[in-house]
């Protein structure tokens, strides 16, 4: 990535990555609704792509269920399709293909095939889009074996994540939070984002760890991902400034298969864990993380894992109602207090 005077926004980084991917590999084809120029996609992530590669960018009927299957067929026959699903909520229309096809072909055909496709889709609320255009549904994919779910945050190298997804032999569901598109990316510089020290794991879809104490005196760990990261960092800052509680924050980018090495390493230092996600609470990523961490590190935890998530209900359209439904900075602060002990 080149350093520019103006910090790059999420949509620009993803768009640049798509152009670079198309230039590098001629087996990549992008399919989606309204992706052609001059419109360039509902969130403009594909801007300029169809002008540059008219034969490789296909605007499609409004047929999400089929699009997943079409991409699977292409991937079975050696192409690298990228499907753009305009709103993550519409992944529900393609779930049969995910559950009964895309995720199964490789294993049930005894490794005779691979299904290297990427589904890119925006998830997340806080734009007033209401109950069916605001959800964070990655948890629906959490229990599907043999797929990969990747979520980018504003501190990740989102272009590198997308490139890794296209190069991956597995089916990858690539979650782009809607707010990320318009926000300036905050990549670590000299190991820091602002005043926080940052570590990045070496995985293809790395976890980022943030600490205000240089990872020395933190007394709780907060694990999150995607669009929740800025909110959690705000909470961590408030905890430092107003409560003198130091937390490590971990932003995962690989949600499935779940890889918690960075979390376990942190919990071994801090002895307590909060999970924070924007999706609804029940059956969410926090539940799975809590089960795994409690099984692996029970003796190191001084309190039960606390979960922060949206209430189990719809995401209303009106701003105040939406805010009331979604997890807040205060919810994260309260969850850290609920851990008791050194961090209370």
């Amino acid at each position: 990535m080149t350093t520019t005077a103006q910090p790059q926004r999420g949509v620009q980084a993803l768009n640049e990555a798509l152009h670079a991917i198309f230039a590098a590999r001629d087996d990549v084809v992008l399919l989606g609704e309204d992706v052609l120029d001059p419109y360039g996609g509902a969130f403009k992530v594909t801007a300029g792509l169809s002008d540059a590669y008219p034969d490789r960018v296909l605007t499609t009927p409004i047929s999400e269920a089929s699009l997943f299957g079409v991409a699977a067929g292409m991937a079975l026959r050696g192409q690298r399709p990228i499907v753009e699903i305009m709103f993550g909520d519409f992944v529900a229309l393609g779930l049969d293909q995910v559950v009964n096809g895309i995720s199964k072909f490789r294993e049930m055909y005894d490794d005779q095939v691979t299904v290297p496709l990427v589904v890119r889709t925006p998830m997340g609320a806080r734009r007033g889009y209401g109950p069916t255009h605001s959800q964070s549904l990655e948890k629906l994919l959490l229990g599907v074996p043999n797929i990969c779910v990747v979520a980018c945050s504003e501190c990740h190298d989102v272009g590198a994540l997308l490139t890794a997804a296209v190069d991956d032999e597995r089916p990858v569901f690539f979650v782009e939070n809607k707010l990320l598109y318009g926000r300036p990316l905050r990549r670590p510089e000299d190991g820091h984002v602002g005043e926080l020290a940052v570590r990045e794991s070496g995985a293809p879809y790395p976890a980022l760890s943030f600490s205000g104490t240089g990872f020395a005196e933190d007394t709780a760990t907060i694990v999150t991902y995607g669009g929740m990261l800025p909110l959690v960092l705000d909470a961590a800052t408030e905890l430092i400034l107003e409560h003198e509680i130091f937390c490590e924050v971990i932003a995962l980018s690989q949600l499935v298969p779940m890889e918690l090495e960075a979390v376990l390493e942190s919990v071994a230092r801090t002895g307590a864990l909060v999970t924070a996600e924007e999706g609804t609470l029940t059956g969410g990523l926090g539940a799975e993380i809590a089960a795994r961490v409690q099984a692996a590190a029970w003796g190191e935890l001084r309190a039960p894992v606390q979960r922060v998530a949206a209430r189990d209900g719809i995401i209303p359209s009106a701003r105040a109602l939406e805010d009331e439904m979604l997890p807040s900075v205060q919810d994260v602060v309260d969850a850290v207090h609920a851990l008791g002990g050194d961090s209370a």
């Binding site: 026959r77 049930m108 055909y109 005894d110």
Partner: protein, 299 residues
């Protein structure tokens, strides 16, 4: 290209293979489920004779054994797969309705396979292989909405997909009159897809029409919707059959084996049947002796 004798041999073998599976179930040598192709053999044999296994692609459904045998001739791999044996074509992981070998695929959710076959056609078109992507549907599949999305896409993008609807007049136990409104052929035509319909169990007639259809898809690169009206004598899966026996008996008059067999010399026909029985017996014996699929052990 096959002749009548070879068609008869392939049909007879499929018939006896499927009957043998039902026998093996009764003997407790098979578990799970199977959906036999008994009565529909002329469709697979007549049509698939025109496909090139090295180039063309088939996506089949839960009732896939006939298609598989006609395309791959791999009876041992299929039988082992259904029996849960290690040399099964998918190592015993797929079983009866989830097969993959070369350019042949099948999956067990109706409708689900139709967009995948459409995507295969898109990939093959982009690669300029000249392949025809054939997908087998049934009257029951026409209840699944994703089928119509795929018809729209295949027509819109002019993809080389041959949609074959084998209308056997029953969706599991439900007669077509209770599950389907309107005309089947009109469904293809409504999307601007060239449509043909046959009402026969004569393998030579099916062979001729399917040959024209496949040549047409190959020549134009555009989809074609082929309706084959047919009938299955066997239950949907194993013993789930409440049809009127008189109805089944009436259809036996046009059993594809009878229709084709009547045109063969009696001695030739008996020789074919004896040869097939011999081959089947050897296949069953070999599969019976093959090791069971076990975790972590490759065949």
């Amino acid at each position: 290209m096959g002749d009548l004798a070879s068609f008869y041999e392939r049909m007879f073998f499929i018939r006896r293979f499927e009957e043998t599976l039902l026998d093996l179930f009764s003997l407790g040598k098979l578990v799970g489920t199977t959906h036999t192709y008994i009565g529909q053999e002329a469709n697979a044999v007549g049509l698939i004779d025109h496909l090139e296994p090295e180039r063309d692609v088939i996506f089949s459904n839960h009732r896939c054994h006939g298609h598989y045998l006609a395309f791959t001739d791999d009876a041992f791999g299929l039988l082992c797969e259904v029996m849960g044996k290690a040399p099964g074509v998918c190592g015993g992981k797929g079983g009866s309705q989830h097969l993959c070998k070369g350019n042949f695929y099948s999956n067990g959710v109706l409708g689900s396979i139709v967009p995948v076959a459409t995507g295969i056609a898109l990939a093959e078109k982009r690669k300029r292989t000249g392949a025809v992507s054939t997908v087998f549907l049934g009257d029951g599949t026409l209840g699944e909405g994703v089928t119509y999305e795929s018809l729209n896409i295949a027509s819109l993008w002019q993809l080389p997909v041959l949609f074959v609807v084998e209308n056997n007049h029953y969706a599991q136990s439900t007669p077509v009159e209770l599950e389907l409104a309107g005309s089947i052929a009109a469904r293809g035509a409504a999307f601007g897809i060239e449509t043909e319909e046959l009402d026969t169990t004569d393998v030579e007639e099916i062979h001729e029409s399917a040959g024209r259809a496949i040549a047409r898809v190959r020549e134009t690169g555009a989809p074609l919707f082929l309706v084959l009206n047919t009938y299955r004598f066997s239950p949907h899966s194993k013993s789930d059959d409440q049809r009127d026996p008189a109805e089944i008996e009436e259809r036996r008059a046009v059993d594809p084996l009878l229709v084709a067999g009547a045109r063969l010399d009696e001695h030739e026909r008996r020789a074919i049947e004896a040869r097939s029985e011999q081959r089947l017996a050897e296949t069953v014996e070999a599969a019976d002796e093959a090791p069971a699929a076990t975790p972590g052990v490759a065949a």
